[in-house]
């Protein structure tokens, strides 16, 4: 392995993203090449410094005023027990049940339906499109429906970021 090879693999080595054999190769080269060893140490030190700075800034955040500000917006003049008394005692149960049922129906009725002024579909669904399917994830995006050609869904492991990848080829291009 040459210094040029190591230069190409530096980021992966510092992030320990290389394969074990590649990691070993780079480490072996660094053991006999002071120049590459120094570069690796510099890069590692730089990343540690950046991480330390970010952590330091996070530690200095003063959140002590957050809860008092929230608490100040809550009216304290009425005790909880007396607040319950403002609800009319004679409110019929069946009326409330009907209201709840209407709310649920309204809520469910609007779910999954496009609004009346939804844009006109501009193209037919391509052959090979994936079937509608719900991907459940605790991460950033839940995909309820997905169509397209040569597409794949990935999730970045650290942040859980959802990635929809199109293995795109221009029509008519020699690929």
């Amino acid at each position: 392995m040459t210094c040029q090879d190591v230069e190409q693999l530096l980021d992966g080595f510092v992030d320990t993203e290389l394969s074990p054999s590649a990691l070993l190769d780079v480490a072996r080269h660094a053991a006999i090449c002071a120049n590459c060893d120094g570069t690796i140490r510099e890069l590692t030190g730089l990343r540690e410094s950046v991480a330390w700075l970010v952590e330091g800034e996070a530690r200095t955040l003063d959140l002590s005023g957050v809860w008092p500000a929230v608490a100040a917006t809550i009216p304290s003049s009425m005790p909880w027990r007396s607040r319950g008394n403002v609800v009319p005692r004679q409110l019929p149960v069946w009326g409330a049940v009907m209201a709840l049922a209407a709310s649920v129906l309204l809520w469910l009725g609007t779910a999954g339906q496009p609004p009346s002024h939804a844009p006109k579909q501009i193209a037919s669904v391509e052959q090979g499109a994936t079937r509608p399917r719900a991907w459940q994830s605790a991460n950033h995006a839940v995909i309820d429906r997905l169509t397209g050609k040569d597409i794949a869904v990935r999730r970045e492991p650290k942040s859980g970021t959802t990635v929809i990848w199109v293995n795109h080829t221009v029509e008519g291009a020699n690929q």
């Binding site: 069946w94 990635v163 199109v166």
Partner: protein
């Protein structure tokens, strides 16, 4: 629990459901679309340097260049198109908030051709990524489109953290 109390609780729940849905959607939606070109080799734009490790996990490329960054405050149930270059556009139709997630239809178009058409629920303030690779016109590189949506009238941040 008396019948009156039970009725009152049910009425409160019904009201909360209606009011909650209405108020969440009364707030405008901040959309940020950032377009990044990814290449195998070469330098990385300084403003993307901090994102490079994440982008590398996402796309596997080493060099990233900022192509465009658009931020708009959009209305619910209105179609918004973002030009992402190379004749492509990202067309969004924000529908509503569901469980602190922004529910929207997202279409990635190339001219009139649909590359992706999806319905997603994105965590409020979260970012998702569309990647387009193996394009004959861009060599071995790829285009990353970072989509961020936040339903918050007070906060409009310009940072992007995929």
């Amino acid at each position: 629990m008396t019948h009156e109390r039970f009725g009152a609780v049910l009425a409160a729940v019904a009201g909360a459901m209606l009011i909650g849905q209405c108020t969440a959607e009364a707030q405008p939606l901040d959309i940020q679309v950032t377009t990044v070109r990814a290449l195998e080799t070469g330098p990385c734009d300084p403003q993307l340097e901090s994102l490079r490790p994440r982008l590398r996990h996402i796309a596997g490329y080493r060099s990233y260049h900022l192509v465009g960054d658009q931020q708009r405050r959009v209305a619910w149930r209105n179609t918004e198109a973002f030009d992402v270059g190379d004749g492509r556009s990202l067309v969004l139709l924000p529908k509503r908030m569901v469980d602190e997630r922004v529910m929207m239809q997202v279409r990635l178009l190339e001219g009139r051709r649909r590359l992706v058409d999806t319905n997603v629920r994105l965590v409020n303030g979260g970012t998702m990524v569309f990647g387009v690779g193996r394009d004959a016109r861009t060599g071995d590189g790829a285009i990353l489109i970072l989509l961020r949506a936040q339903n918050s009238p007070q906060q409009t941040t310009s940072s992007t953290s995929p």
